[in-house]
Symmetry: C3
Subunit: 211 residues, 3 copies
Amino acid sequence: MPTSFASAQLALDLVGVFVFALSGGLVAVKKRFDLFGVLVLACAAALGGGIVRDLLIGAVPPVGISDWRLLTAAALGGLVTFVYHPGVERITRFVRVLDAAGLGAFAVAGSLKAVTTLGVSPVAAVLVGIITAVGGGVVRDLLAGQVPEVLRRELYAVPAMLGAVLVVVAAQLGSLQDWVLWTAAGLVFALRMLAVRLDLNAPTPLRSNVT
Amino acid sequence: MPTSFASAQLALDLVGVFVFALSGGLVAVKKRFDLFGVLVLACAAALGGGIVRDLLIGAVPPVGISDWRLLTAAALGGLVTFVYHPGVERITRFVRVLDAAGLGAFAVAGSLKAVTTLGVSPVAAVLVGIITAVGGGVVRDLLAGQVPEVLRRELYAVPAMLGAVLVVVAAQLGSLQDWVLWTAAGLVFALRMLAVRLDLNAPTPLRSNVT
Amino acid sequence: MPTSFASAQLALDLVGVFVFALSGGLVAVKKRFDLFGVLVLACAAALGGGIVRDLLIGAVPPVGISDWRLLTAAALGGLVTFVYHPGVERITRFVRVLDAAGLGAFAVAGSLKAVTTLGVSPVAAVLVGIITAVGGGVVRDLLAGQVPEVLRRELYAVPAMLGAVLVVVAAQLGSLQDWVLWTAAGLVFALRMLAVRLDLNAPTPLRSNVT
């Protein structure tokens, strides 16, 4: 991987890890876990998506357990949440915003690492991007005993997919640039927040059919 | 892997992916997830078992994220379920039948791929077959917030084990043929359906002991 | 890996697998699963941690599915639990003790295998040790539909971390000896039991802050 990608990769990973650590920590605070429960859930939410990504593309040991900077960012996120956290009613809203930011950072970080790994097809790179992006939140919600965000009402996986497609197409065109990556991450964040704000929902199965 | 195995492998994978996508989609419909929730749960149920299998035998990136045919089958299964699905009371029964079909296809597809991979012992191949077969259903049930089918009352893992043993023994005897594979898959399906129909249950722990 | 480590590795793996199989089986008995449900949960709890460890360090296929001794120990643990299990009120206490023993065995077995694998950094080895130790319990609790022990109140991951750090430091100093390994495992067990007995809890988020 060229140096410029490597630094963008690390920056995106760091952003994603930190915000997902905050989101995991907040869910843990809401569930009244103790200090170590908060730290564990923060780390699981923060590092889960990247670890799954690295397992899928054969990059072992995953950076999520070998890079001290990512580990530090995850632990720091958990600690910050534990010490200073907003009231319970505001927690859900905060989790949503952080989750959207993590979704953007990880959709791009995941597809970027996959598309620059030998032997990973463009289609697989898009899927790795999506899985990286939704993975942390799924791990967080499963451990906390709630149905994962990605399955609940509201557009969630689609913005991640768009971001991943953008990265993979840019890679195919040979025009992977730092600004493309950050734009893609920002776009995912914006689309996800738009869906939350406007309460945009995808269609649900016909009720009449389900009686 | 000889070509004939490769085509049987793909066919079994496709069957397993499609029926598990239907089963995942139906569970999502029952839980009233939206269109994308249905698609995500369908894909997770359909591709989960095969992805775990490929991680276990070191075949990365897993075909579940790199082969567009499997991805298309999974998405198609989710879409079909969303558009046309039976009433709620009938969903549980449908999920059971599809689940049994997926169990058969994946027990054989999993053990076949493992047994034809260098460095995987016969015992490991049987276990990979079982894990491939039950994996999709476990992912589906965990994400949907219900106790996995494999742990509830009724014979479930045993038919999968028998199918996987059959494949591995045939491989040891050098008589892996297409008809052996399909017979094994059919046998798993038949045994599982028999257990469902006759409400065959394995013994449970003595009640008197648990008071 | 030198022979003496290999035999300590196997012994620690066997101990961890057996006691986690008992703990998984007991949880299954408490949930009134049938014989095969008990066996499946016992195997998942027993082998889950080690399988995740081997995936993280790239040792595929994992010993948890390829070594018949570990498989036998897991199945035996499940069977023993099914046939002879204590009353329900005592099950929770038993699970705690077995869980602490498994935590010790796997924290050491996990970090030992990681630290003796080429290309795994000391930091990563500590994390692999923690993940191996808590992994089986997390799998057990997720499958059984309860919030994982590691997130509930009481010191849990910390003893595992101390044990893993001890092993990695000993490896760095070139003084990995059998007695060091067993002492580390015993220490983790003792610390965890102390936390259970004294009901030692880590601090929880300030209540006033969460209204």
